[in-house]
Amino acid sequence: MSSTPDCPHPSMSQMPSCQVVSNALSDYLEDVLSDGDRLKLEDHFAACPLCLVYLDQFRTIYHITGEVPSEQLPHDFNEVMGKAIRLWKAELEDQD
């Protein structure tokens, strides 16, 4: 099966493949790549419209998954905690 024509083919260029680019996106967004690797990815994005859209979507996912709000404690949390502590204390007393 041939590759998507618009994207650089790794066997015909020094650029990383689309799969390599996809697998490096967290490192790219967290800026932990070497300058050389970051430039290779950016050259790939300039030549590959699919990976450029993929990057945009991945960036959205990266940020949203970091912003899911935490849950509120149940209103009867004191009861939940109190019961746990009572069970534990009863076991301690049984051991004495």
Partner: protein, 200 residues
């Protein structure tokens, strides 16, 4: 033995000696995030989450005399909580699914380029991406979901998440990345850009 967290060890020793006040303080500080984690991992069932949290609290108190201060007390508590969550899932007939593969692996050719016919369209700016992403997070394999929730939802530093999950830092980074890729693909399907699984 090297004690890396002497304050945590002191709290644990007070609780082990039967100090109810120390136990209450500990749970009041951490139960909000722990409850949130349980709910996310169990699909938002609040009654079940309360039961699992309570069971985990009892388990934590029972085992407190085994805490040795080598890891943070919070990390040690989360390990117990994780086990209770898996137990609860199994009781409901849901064996946790673990995945390490590339979620997009079937869409590349032999050279790692997108296969001919693959399309990746920008998402509609008006689409309910946030809701879709939340739903997609609930569908993630167990290992990716707990890693993403611990890091992103609970705000625990990555090194500590690795300690909780008992994996090395590089494996955690890989698991997080796979989780984000899985969420992106799921969101793309939900937003109409990809055929549903099995129809490709």
């Amino acid at each position: 033995m090297r004690v890396s967290h002497p304050k945590d060890l002191d709290v644990a020793q007070r609780i082990s000696a039967g100090d109810e006040g120390a136990a209450e303080d500990l749970f009041r500080n951490l139960s909000g995030e722990m409850f949130g984690f349980v709910r996310k991992m169990l699909g938002g069932d609040p009654a079940l989450a309360e039961d699992v949290l309570q069971e985990a609290m009892v388990g934590i108190l029972r085992s407190m005399n085994k805490f040795d201060g080598r890891v943070r007390l919070r990390s040690w508590m989360y390990r117990i909580l994780r086990n209770k969550i898996v137990d609860a899932q199994r009781k409901r007939g849901r064996e946790p699914v673990f995945s390490v593969g590339d979620p997009e692996g079937d869409r590349y050719d032999a050279h790692g380029s997108w296969q001919k016919g693959v399309t990746i369209q920008p998402w509609n700016e008006n689409a309910e991406v946030l809701d879709v992403v939340r739903r997609c997070m609930e569908l993630l394999p167990h290992n990716q979901r707990e890693a993403l929730h611990l890091l992103a939802v609970q705000g625990i530093p990555a090194q500590e998440v690795a300690t909780i999950l008992e994996m090395n830092y590089n494996n955690l980074r890989q698991t997080l990345h796979r989780g984000r890729q899985s969420v992106r693909r799921c969101a793309d399907q939900a937003l109409g850009n990809l055929p549903e699984e099995g129809q490709a």
